[in-house]
Amino acid sequence: MSDAVETRLITARLNARPEDSWTIDGALASGAYNAFRQALTMNAEDIGKEQVAASGLRGRGGAGFPAATKWSFLPPDSFPRYLVVNGDEGEPSTFKDRMLVERDPHQLVEGIAIAAYSIGCHQAFVYLRGEFALGYERLMQAIKDAHAKGFLGTNIQDSGFDLEIVVHRGAGAYICGEETALLESLEGERGMPRIRPPFPAIEGLYAKPTVINNVETLSTLPHIITMGGAKYAELGVNKSTGTRLFSVSGHVNRPGNYEVELGITFRDLIYSPELAGGMRGDRPVKFFIPGGASSQWLTGSDEHLDAPLDMDYVQQTFGVMLGSGAVMVYDDTTNPALVAWRLAKFFAHESCGKCTPCREGAGWIEKVLYRISHGDGRPNDLDLLFSVGDSISPGVMNAPFVQTTICPLGPSAVSGVASLHKYFKEEVEAMCTNGHASIPVTAS
C-alpha cells in the first residue's frame, strides 16, 4: 500500500480557500501577484533564461517541451510578439485546466503577466474551451479585477510595463487545442493545423512571433518566481521536475485531480488513500491510459504500475506518454476493444479533415473497432486495423510515433489500435472468432 500524498503548489490556494479562491480578495489574501511584483523588479529576460530554465519546467499541455527553450526561440528583435494561452482543454478524461481556471483564475493571470513580462509581450490571448462557462465568467472577472488593482493595463505597478489580455472562447473543436489550429481559429479562420515551419515562435498569431503555453504551465510560473527556479527543480525526478496535476478517472475509488510531485509511481497515484484511493471493489487493474486519450496504454502489470511518473522514462521504456496528465484506469470487467472503439470514435469525430490519412483513416478504424467490439469482428480485423493504422502512423508502435499527418491527432487515433495489438491481441482475436468478449460480469 502506498502512502504518497499531494504536493500542493498550483492547487494550494484553491484547496486552502475553497470558499473564495477565485475572487480578487481571496487571491490577494493568499499572496496572489506577489510573485509578479517580484518579477517586475527582475531583468525580464533573466526570468526565462535563468529562473524558468533552472526550474526545468516542461509544458503541461501534453508534449512536455521545456518552457524556457520555447521562449528562447523568439527572434530577438521582432515585435510585436504575442503570448497565447492554450485553455482549450478537450482531451477526453483531462479536466485539470478547467479546475485551475475556475478556481484560481488569478494564479493564471499572474502567470500570464510574468510570462508576458519576461518575453516582452503586451498583448496576451487566452483561448478558452467554449464549454467552460463558469471558468470564462471567473476568468473575465479576474482580469477585470486585476485591471482595477493595477496588475494589468498600462504602466503596471509603475514598472512601465503594459499588458492586456483578450479571452476568446472556442466553439467546440478538439483540434483547436493543437497550437497552430488554435492560432488559425483565433484569427477567425477554420481550425486546421498549419504547416511547420514556420514555427509559431517565428511566425505565429497574425504572422508575429508567438509563444503558446498551457494553462497549467503558466499557473506554475508564480511558484517558480517565489521559490526560485533551482529550488523548484529540486522537486520531481530527473528531467521531469516539479509537480503536476493528474486527472485520475475510471474504476478508482476517488477519481479527481491530484497534484503530485513527479517521480511517484502509477501505483502510488492509483492506490494511495490520499490520492485515487485504490480500485473499485478491489478488482485488479486490467489496463490504464497513462497520459490522456492520445497515449498508448499500460497494463496492470507490476512493471507498469511501478513505473515512475517521469515523462522520459515512460516514453523510452514503454513508448507511452504522460501527455496531458489524464490517467484512465480500467479494471478486469472492461472490454478493451470497446474502450478502443469509443476513443477512436472521438478522434474520428474530432479529426479536422485536413490530412487524408486522419480524415479517412480515423473513420475506418472507428468502423472496424465498432464491429469488433459489438460482436461482428472478422478473423483478420486486427491485422486490418494495424495496416490502416500504419498508413497514419507508419510502424504504429514507434515511440515517439512517426506520422503521415500534419498534427498528432492522426497518430492519436491509432494509439488504441497499437495498444490492443500489444497487450490484448489474443483477447481481441478471440472476440473476432467468438463474436463476444470474454470478460467477467461486473460484480459490485
Partner: protein, 892 residues
C-alpha cells in the same frame, strides 16, 4: 525570363544529382528534372497547403516523411521518393482516399482524364479492403449557374477553395463540417458567383466539380485538342480547345507565364457555344426584291464587287468606308486593310466604333507588358473596370497588389472591381477626369498638386523602383473619348510611365496595328510615314487621311458614303451614339455585311457574306500588350462560311488585283515582311515561340522563348498545360534562329557531348519609323452642370447583351437586367423606392429603367450599365458632346 538571377543548390533525388533553384519546393524542383512525385492538393499557382499527404517522401537526416510540396530544397538534400516506406504511404493514402469515393467512374465526366484514377493506377495498392458503407450525399448540387458539385467524389484537396480565395478573390466556397464529413459548401443563399468559377472545375483532381456546359457532352478519349488563344476579350489567354464530332465542347486554360498563368474567365471558357448557335448565317446572301436570299459565293462576291465599283465611280474612294475588323485575326485585318487602302484607296476605315480610344493614342503610347504589372512601381487603373472588361488581367493586377505588394491606384468615376485592392481610389465626375489625373501626375512627378487625395495616392508609390504601369480604357461610354486622351497626356509625359491599353474587343489591337484605323497603315506606321514603303509593296495607298467611325457614320447619315462595309461590326449595339449609328447605316447607299449573324445593323445589308470565326480558322491575333499569338482552327463551319481575309482577297481579285495569298500563313509571312512593327514575326517563328512574340521584336527579343517543336496537347490534361505544345511541322530555321553547335569532349571519359544552342537574332530592316503619340491634348471644354441633372456613367459588365453572351445558353441566367444606380441621397431626391422604374431623359433620348441606391456611386453621378437588356443606353448618348447629363424623374 524575369531576368532575376536565381541561386542554385544541388540536391539528389533517387540517386540523381541535379541543380535546382534555391528555395523552390521539392515537388516542383523534382518534377523539373523528371521525377514526378504524386500529388492532389499541390498546384503550382497556389500556396501549398500540404493536406492530401500524397507527396510524402524521405529525406536523409529528417525524421519521418515530409511532404514534398511544402519542403523547400536545400543544398545537399538527399531525397528518396521510391523507397518501400514511401510506397507504403502512397498505397495507404490512395486506399484511404478511395474509402469514401463512390467509384462511379463510368458515369463521371472526369473518367478517363482523372488524376485520382491515374494516380491510383500508377501509385496505388490496386485493391481496397474497405467493406463498410460509404459516405452519402445528395449528388450533384449546383453551387452556381455554371458549376455543379458532387460531394461524394470530393477528396478535400482545397484546390477550389484556395483558388476562389487566393487567386480570384471570391471566397464564396469553403469547407463545412469536419473530419469524414468535411464538404465543400457555399454560404447559405450565396452561390459561387465568380467570374472565374470554371477554373475550379479544371483544377479539380476528381469529378467533384463539373461544368454545366460540358457535363455529359463527351468522353475525354473522344476529344481532340489544339492550343489556341481565347479572343473573348483582348487579353488572349492561352487555352486548349477541344472538340468532338466537329463540335467545340471545352476550352481549358493553358499556363502561359506572361499572359494568363493558366486561368480563364467563365465567359471565355464557356463562350464557345455561340459558335454553334442556330443564328449563324451559313450561306452568302444577296438582296433581291427587297429581301436577303441565299445565293452562291460567286454571285455574292460579284454583287459586292459591283457595288464597290459603282461607289468608286460615283464618289471616288472617299465615298467608301469600312467599319469593324476587331473580331477577326491579324490576317483578316491585314488583307482587309490592304484591300481598303491599297485597292479601294479609301482611308475611311475604323476597327473601333467610337467606343474605344483614338488609334493615334493606342498605337503611340509607350507600351507595357502584362508581366510588367508584377514588378511595377505602381499600377494606375484609369477609368476602366478591368474585372468586368478583361477579367484575367484583373487576376494579374489583383495578384500584383495582394501578393506582390505593388500599390494600385484606381482612378474612376465609380468603384471598380479592383477597388478593394487599391492603395487609393480617386473618384471623378464625368468631365473632370483630366483635372484629377493632372493632380495625381503632378504629385507623382514630385510637385505638390494641391489635391490632398492625389498627393496621398501618389505617396503610395514613393520609394519604389520600376515603371508606373497605367491600365487605361474607355470606362465610360457616355463621356467623350477626348476626356481620357486629355487625362492621359500628363501621365504619358512622365518618364517612367508605360501603358496597357485596355480595349476589350477581341483583336482590336491587332486590327489597329494592321492599319484598320484612319491615318494608319499596317505595322503601326502613320499614313504619311508609311506612304512610300507601302506604295512600293502595294502599289497604292489613300491620298489623304480618312474619317473615324463617328465621322463615317455622320457622313453616311448625310448620304456622303455610297458603300459601307460592316466588317463584323454592329454599330447600333456598340457605338455609344445609337441614333447616329442607325442613321448612318440607313444613309449608306450600298451595305456589305461581313459577319456571322444577322444584327440590327446589318439586317438591311445588300450583300451578306458569312465568315468563319474563332475556332474555325487559323491565324494570329495581337493582345492588348502587343503580343502576337496563334489561334487555331478546331472545327469546320457549318455551311460555306469563309475567312474574312479570303473575302477581301476575292473582292480584290474582282477589282483586278491579285494578292496571291493562298493560306493564312502566307498572309502572316507577308505581314512579317511588309508591316514594320511585325518585322520578323513570321509564321515559322510564331509556331515555335512558346509565349508568342511581343512587338516590335527588336524591343522584346529577350522575352522570346522557343518551345519544343511538335508536342500535341493531351486532351483534358489537369496539370498546368504548358504552352508551345502545338501540333505543327518542324520549321526551317530562317534568319531569326541561329543554331550553334557546342561540342564538349571529355578526354577522361572518352565521351563527346553535342549541344545545340539556339539564339534568336532579329534582323533589323530599314523600315518606316513606328508611330509615337505626340501627347497633344485635344481641346476639351469643361461642361457646365445643371444642379438637377445626374451625369451618366455607362460602363460595361462581363455578361452583357452582346453576341457571345446572348448566344450562349449557359450565360442566360447571368445576364442581369439593366438598373440605374445612383447615390442613396440622389435616389431619395428622386423619391422612389429601389426597383421602381424611373424616367431617364437626356438631350438625345429617353428611357424607363428601374432605379437602385448604390453607395459606391458618388453624388450627382448615375451609373447605367452598357448593353444590358432593358435599357439601350446608346439612345441617350450624343457622341459629339463631352458628357451625357440626365434628368431622372419618377413616373406618375
Amino acid at each position: 525570363m524575369t531576368g532575376l538571377v536565381t541561386e542554385l543548390v544541388s540536391i539528389t533525388v533517387d540517386g540523381k544529382t541535379v541543380q535546382v533553384a534555391k528555395g523552390e519546393v521539392l515537388i516542383k524542383a523534382a518534377q523539373e528534372h523528371g521525377t514526378y512525385i504524386p500529388r492532389f492538393c499541390w498546384h503550382e499557382r497556389m500556396k501549398p497547403v500540404g493536406m492530401c499527404r500524397m507527396c510524402l517522401v524521405q529525406i536523409e537526416g529528417v525524421r519521418g516523411f515530409p511532404p514534398a510540396c511544402t519542403t523547400p530544397v536545400a543544398e545537399g538534400m538527399v531525397v528518396n521518393t521510391l523507397s518501400d516506406d514511401v510506397k507504403n504511404i502512397q498505397d495507404g493514402v490512395l486506399e484511404l482516399l478511395l474509402v469514401n469515393h463512390p467509384l462511379d467512374c463510368p458515369v463521371c465526366d472526369r473518367g478517363g482524364e482523372c488524376p485520382l484514377q491515374d494516380t491510383t493506377l500508377a501509385f496505388g495498392p490496386g485493391e481496397s479492403r474497405f467493406t463498410e458503407e460509404k459516405r452519402h450525399w445528395e449528388k450533384p448540387i449546383a453551387i452556381s449557374d455554371l458549376v455543379l458539385l458532387d460531394r461524394e467524389r470530393c477528396i478535400q484537396c482545397a484546390r477550389c477553395t484556395r483558388f476562389a480565395d487566393e487567386i480570384a478573390g471570391d471566397p464564396l466556397i469553403t469547407f463545412n463540417e469536419r473530419g469524414g464529413h468535411t464538404e465543400i459548401a457555399t454560404f447559405p443563399d450565396e452561390p459561387f458567383a465568380s467570374y472565374f468559377s470554371g477554373n475550379t472545375v479544371q483544377i479539380c483532381p476528381v469529378g467533384a466539380l463539373t461544368a454545366k456546359p460540358y457535363r455529359f457532352k463527351a468522353r475525354p478519349w473522344d476529344l481532340s485538342a489544339v492550343e489556341t488563344s481565347c479572343t473573348t476579350c483582348a487579353v488572349h489567354c492561352r487555352g486548349a480547345l477541344e472538340s468532338s464530332s466537329n463540335r467545340l465542347v471545352r476550352l481549358l486554360g493553358v499556363d502561359s507565364e506572361p499572359v494568363n498563368q493558366g486561368w480563364l474567365c467563365d465567359k471565355g471558357r464557356y463562350g464557345y457555344d455561340a459558335i454553334h448557335a442556330d443564328t449563324r448565317v451559313r450561306h452568302p446572301m444577296v438582296r433581291r426584291d427587297g429581301a436577303l436570299v441565299a445565293c452562291t459565293w460567286p454571285e455574292a462576291l460579284d454583287a459586292a464587287a459591283e457595288g464597290l465599283r459603282n461607289a468608286l465611280a460615283a464618289g471616288g474612294a472617299s465615298g467608301i468606308a469600312v467599319l469593324g475588323g476587331a473580331r477577326g485575326t491579324n490576317e483578316d485585318a491585314y488583307v482587309w486593310a490592304r484591300f481598303a487602302k491599297g485597292v479601294l484607296r479609301t482611308d475611311n476605315v475604323d476597327a473601333q466604333l467610337g467606343d474605344g480610344l483614338p488609334a493615334d493614342v493606342v498605337l503611340g503610347l509607350a507600351h507595357a507588358t502584362i508581366a510588367d504589372l508584377d514588378t511595377a512601381r505602381g499600377i494606375v487603373v484609369l477609368g476602366v473596370d478591368v474585372k468586368e472588361e478583361l477579367p484575367v488581367l484583373y487576376l494579374r493586377a489583383r495578384r500584383a497588389a495582394v501578393e506582390l505588394g505593388v500599390p494600385l491606384i484606381e482612378i474612376s468615376p465609380t468603384a471598380t472591381g479592383l477597388a478593394p485592392y487599391a492603395a487609393a481610389s480617386l473618384r471623378y465626375a464625368p468631365g473632370e477626369q483630366a483635372d484629377v489625373v493632372a493632380s495625381f501626375a503632378a504629385a507623382l512627378g514630385g510637385a505638390a498638386s494641391g489635391d490632398a487625395a492625389a498627393d496621398t495616392a501618389a505617396a503610395a508609390l514613393a520609394g519604389r523602383a520600376g515603371n508606373v504601369v497605367v491600365i487605361v480604357g474607355r470606362g465610360n461610354l457616355a463621356e467623350h473619348a477626348d476626356a481620357t486622351v486629355a487625362a492621359l497626356a500628363p501621365l504619358a509625359a512622365l518618364e517612367d510611365s508605360r501603358f496597357l491599353v485596355a480595349l476589350r474587343r477581341a483583336n482590336v489591337r491587332g486590327a489597329l496595328d494592321l492599319g484598320l484605323a484612319p491615318g494608319f497603315l499596317p505595322g503601326r506606321v502613320s499614313l504619311e510615314a508609311g506612304r512610300e514603303w507601302f506604295e512600293e509593296t502595294w502599289g497604292a495607298v489613300p491620298d489623304e487621311r480618312g474619317l473615324d467611325a463617328l465621322g463615317i457614320l455622320a457622313a453616311a447619315a448625310k448620304s456622303r458614303i455610297s458603300a459601307l462595309v460592316l466588317l463584323g461590326a454592329d454599330p447600333i449595339a456598340d457605338c455609344p451614339d445609337a441614333s447616329l449609328a442607325a442613321e448612318g447605316i440607313a444613309g449608306a447607299e450600298f451595305v456589305i455585311a461581313v459577319d456571322t449573324t444577322i444584327t440590327d445593323s446589318n439586317r438591311g445589308a445588300d450583300v451578306f457574306l458569312p465568315v468563319t470565326t474563332w475556332g474555325e480558322q487559323d491565324g494570329t491575333v495581337t493582345n492588348l500588350e502587343g503580343r502576337v499569338q496563334r489561334v487555331a482552327r478546331k472545327v469546320s463551319p457549318d455551311g460555306t462560311a469563309m475567312p474574312d481575309w479570303r473575302i477581301a482577297a476575292e473582292l480584290a481579285l474582282r477589282l483586278r488585283e491579285d494578292f496571291d495569298l493562298a493560306t493564312a500563313e502566307e498572309v502572316t509571312d507577308e505581314i512579317a515582311r511588309g508591316a514594320p512593327a511585325f518585322a520578323g514575326a513570321d509564321s515559322a517563328l510564331l509556331r515555335r515561340a512558346r509565349d508568342g512574340a511581343v512587338l516590335p521584336l527588336a524591343d522584346h527579343a529577350d522575352t522570346l522563348v522557343l518551345g519544343p517543336l511538335s508536342i500535341p496537347v493531351t486532351a483534358g490534361s489537369w496539370e498546368p498545360i504548358l504552352p508551345g505544345h502545338v501540333d505543327g511541322a518542324v520549321i526551317a530555321a530562317e534568319v531569326e534562329v541561329e543554331v550553334e553547335v557546342e561540342v564538349a569532349i571529355d578526354t577522361a571519359d572518352e565521351t563527346v557531348e553535342v549541344t545545340l544552342v539556339e539564339t534568336v537574332v532579329v534582323v533589323e530592316r530599314e523600315v518606316p519609323a513606328l508611330h509615337q503619340w505626340s501627347g497633344a491634348t485635344p481641346a476639351t471644354t469643361r461642361p457646365g452642370r445643371d444642379a438637377y441633372a445626374l451625369r451618366l456613367v455607362s460602363s460595361r459588365v462581363l455578361y452583357d447583351g452582346g453576341v457571345t453572351a446572348a448566344a450562349t445558353p449557359s450565360f442566360g441566367a447571368l445576364i442581369r437586367p439593366a438598373e440605374l444606380h445612383v447615390n442613396p441621397q440622389d435616389r431619395d431626391r428622386i423619391g422612389v423606392d429601389d426597383g421602381v422604374a424611373v424616367r431617364v431623359t437626356s438631350a438625345r433620348g429617353q428611357l424607363d429603367v428601374p432605379v437602385r441606391a448604390d453607395a459606391t456611386v458618388p453624388l450627382g453621378t448615375a451609373l447605367l450599365t452598357w448593353n444590358l437588356p432593358g435599357a439601350s443606353v446608346g439612345t441617350l448618348v450624343d457622341a459629339t458632346s463631352a458628357v451625357t447629363d440626365l434628368r431622372v424623374e419618377s413616373i406618375r
